[in-house]
Subunit: 570 residues, 2 copies
């Protein structure tokens, strides 16, 4: 049972038949064609040699296939994680240097080990620290940075930066050095890619191709762009005209080896590796969940951590960089009919063949084409509506999203993630630290108690019934105490009973218990008894572990109605 | 009104009369006598020259008197803040160097500005991030470190360290160098101090002194220890026998001046200054609240921030170090009958007189005596019961307290505070991320719904009523989604209605709303309608800002009873 849980293929390999094989093989062919340009492009985005993109798309796919619980997730280099890798590694080594590549490999290894550790510790629910709107905001802002960072390849200039101000500054400073032929190539590639996205599918349909097939063929747009610009590059001798080309890509499969065992390097990478792990995991699980839901399958977050960890360790062991489950590649895999992770294994074989035989052709490929591929890919990441949606729904969601977007744009991806998590938690604490408090009275003729300000209810001068709409814990214990004192200070002098209605109290922690004890003492001095009503089972269990109930000046009532019946003046 | 709020003396100065003056003067005399040794001792603890302890007990008292809302709080150097100052400043400069003293002055200035800023931003409730048990644990652990750090003065050796392992290691390494006369002086001072605490009061009472007076006189124990050991030091020529003495203390009032305006220094001190500000504020407010409650007065947290800020700025401007409201000094002030902050103003005058005329006598005072004063003072900070109390009440409170104590002891005060805050928040998020979920049914003959596992209730196969005991927000949105899917997967196939009872739901954030929308879609595919019941006013207001209610597949019911009545099979 445990082995089956940790090796999901044992589930789906039984009953694997020719029909499934055909589906998986077809999907693999389509995904391979799509993945070759994407792998090269994301290596470029991460500032790494093109072959590392291919290496990161071979073994990691097989590793995920062995351990992952999603049957259709496609793992490999993705845009946001590649950008984060470039940011982190760029702090440590010069782009293009040997140290840079090996730091990226170490990053994959470290992030993989962290993911596996989190999986073994069953930290799967930690992904919940990143709220959906915050993730959308973060990915949107990252997409903008990525698109802008690729403009330099379209212009053929040397401009760098990790955030909007430095990027724009650098682009403006160098825009005069634009290489015209590079620009023409880049713009042409962009136009072609945008057209294959929108126009090619419908055109093929008009030419008599089936809708699904036409859609699939249109996904091969990047390959078309690569073929056409490579041909142009050869015929018009781009190399002699100052156009940046991919250049020599070593032919063959990746060599296996340990990532650099440099403790100081690992220590420097640690925080970034953690952030990359968390973001990669959140992105991957959200894709995995969406796809699984469509086929009524389920994925297991803890096992996913282990599988993504294994994929990253495999990437590090075979000269790759950090990988995760990607949205667009997984959707293509799913739509192409992949039924099991064997499709990914076949895809890995396809990419391996490309690494063996295709690399000499890549020499003439202009980098501008790859940059265009990236720009078109990330436009789908940008969610223009998230800010408006958050604004309309709640100010605090809006603040969290806006803080994430602004920090990511202005201070880069790492601080952006941290700001997103930090601001969300701070806002949550802030909200729960000043909970909604209602004075309630009985709705005549019922046993229901409602806010005296919203409803017409019955109250008595000798009783205050207060409902506090939050668990009582350290962040709001002081607020509750002050609120009760303020109420009692303004109350009728006939006041004898203060009833705390605990319908919404899911927890009372030790700080809150101490605050309640102070309240009870203070009310006692004024001759007022403190009662509790509608205390939930788990809260009551905890209170019984303290001596609070023994010296409670009032009683504990099962319902607010019973409390009022017992205490109201006769 | 605003001026009166910001200058509390305007309130109590009206109606100030001779009776109040007499009380305040008497209290000032007693507090001054107690404060002289305490000020010198805490300067020693902070690694600063003795006169800085006096300086920190003059102007800051007057500044707090002008702005503070507590009438009896006594501000000045306190143990925990002095230790934190030593830790932070010790990282930047060598103890005893000029740079060390000026960094401590800068720390007071920076911390003062931060406190004022927090007050103006009305951040008073931020103190709630530190739960009571965590603060107790932190102060207990700090007390242990302080007591151990003073052992070196009792032994007359050179041993340093910021945490338990380094302190113990250093003490063991140097214990062979113990100076016998220093040790005898220290132990004698300790014994005398402990006896004056326990035995002197009762003895004086037996000699016919009134109980209160005897208690007050006993508080002067440290003065007695100072006088006796200074005399011994003079008569037995301690100076020639290698006993560390206080030495030259400049005579006169502090010079006014700006703290060092070194931006780099301020940047280095920033994090520590923030932690000192927070801890000082929390300690001071908790003392202030306790005393205010005894006389039915109230204190205002935001105004307290400003007053403590002003006190620290005043300290920095007059050659002092970080100060805050201290527990023991405030209690003495209160018990001695202080009625208003004029008592503190008189105390400041008393300390100023000491700085003017008393310092030559301090030359011969052994440092061991001051160390003994500190050790006896901090034993009252140590709360031996907090761990047991937390353990009995709840595991999560225990983990927070234990993490705070262990981190403070092992890694020092700053990481200790951060661990306390971090672990409390993490545990809170963890708890609320897996909320208690109950399937409920109607208690026969009532309109109440209770957990089907705890009560004998009525249910229908076509309805699931689920009560989730937590606000729905990003940390538990995914958990709720999975829980609902699991319930539906196991449900009777006649299931038609899923009712989410929202009694305990105080908020639904955007993440949770998106999760609810996914749930609704998924249930719809299975022919099950999603209903809400007992949605609170504020939550309903928020939902109405989205389009969730428009495409809700079920209805929203005012009560769970009405929901069941409407949906149950007829």
């Amino acid at each position: 049972m445990t082995i089956r849980h940790n090796l999901p293929p044992l589930d789906w390999l039984r009953g694997y038949d020719k029909r499934l094989l055909t589906s998986d093989l077809l999907a693999a062919v389509i995904v391979t064609i799509m993945l070759i340009p994407q792998s090269l492009a994301y290596a470029l985005l991460a500032g790494l040699p093109a072959e590392m993109g291919l290496y990161a798309s071979i073994l990691p796919l097989a590793a995920y296939a062995a351990f992952g619980t999603s049957r259709t997730l496609s793992v490999g280099p993705v845009a946001v994680v590649s950008l984060m890798t470039a940011t982190a590694v760029g702090r440590i080594a010069e782009t293009g240097s040997l140290g840079y590549a090996s730091a990226a490999i170490a990053m994959a290894g470290l992030s993989g080990l962290m993911l596996i550790a989190m999986g073994l510790l069953r930290f799967g629910h930690l992904a919940n620290l990143l709220s959906h709107p915050v993730v959308s905001g973060f990915i949107t802002a990252s997409g903008i940075i990525i698109a802008l960072s690729q403009l330099r390849h379209i212009l053929g200039i040397d401009a760098h930066g990790e955030n909007l101000p430095t990027l724009l500054g650098s682009l403006f400073a160098h825009v005069g050095e634009t290489n015209t032929i590079t620009l023409i190539t880049g713009v042409a590639a962009l136009a072609l890619l945008l057209w294959t996205r929108r126009g090619l599918g419908p055109l093929l349909q008009r030419l008599g191709m089936g809708k699904d097939t036409a859609g699939m063929v249109a996904k091969a747009g990047p390959v078309l762009a690569i073929v056409l610009t490579t041909l142009a590059s050869v015929f018009f001798a781009f190399e002699d005209r100052g156009v940046a080309l991919v250049g020599n890509v070593p032919q063959g499969l990746p060599a296996f080896g340990w990532p650099p065992m440099d403790l100081e390097l690992w220590r420097e990478l640690a925080v970034s590796a953690l952030l990359i792990s968390v973001i990669g995991f959140v992105e991957s699980v959200s894709v995995g969940k969406t796809l699984a839901a469509k086929r009524r399958q389920r994925i297991d977050a803890n096992q996913e951590l282990i599988a993504l960890g294994a994929a990253n360790v495999a990437s590090a062991g075979s000269g790759g960089f950090p990988v995760t489950g990607g949205f667009s590649r997984s959707v293509v895999n799913f739509d192409a009919g992949a039924q099991t992770q064997l499709a990914s294994v076949f895809t890995a074989l396809g990419i391996a063949l490309a690494a063996l035989f295709l690399t000499p052709v890549l020499y003439y490929l202009p980098k501008a084409t790859l940059a265009a591929t990236i720009i078109v890919a990330v436009t789908s990441l940008i969610d223009g509506k998230i800010l408006g949606l958050a604004w309309r729904y709640s100010r605090s969601d809006f603040i969290a999203v806006a803080a994430t977007i602004v920090t990511t744009l202005v201070a880069g991806v790492e601080l952006g993630v941290l700001a997103g998590i930090g601001v969300s938690i701070a806002l949550h604490l802030h909200k729960t630290s000043r909970p909604h408090i209602a004075i309630v009275g009985e709705v005549p003729g019922t046993e229901h108690f409602r806010n005296i300000e919203r409803h017409d209810v019955v109250t008595y001068p000798s009783i205050i019934s207060m409902r506090i709409d939050e668990s009582l814990y350290f962040a709001n214990a002081g607020y509750m105490e002050s609120a009760i004192y303020a109420l009692v200070a303004e109350a009728d002098e006939r006041l004898e009973h203060f009833i705390l209605q605990c319908t919404a109290v899911n927890e009372i922690d030790l700080s809150a218990l101490e605050a309640l004890e102070s309240v009870m003492e203070r009310l006692k001095e004024q001759g007022i008894a403190l009662h509790l009503s509608e205390v939930k089972g788990p809260v009551m269990d905890a209170l019984e572990c303290s001596d609070f109930l023994q010296h409670l000046t009032g009683q504990v009532f099962l319902s607010q109605h019973q409390a009022c019946e017992a205490l109201k003046p006769r």
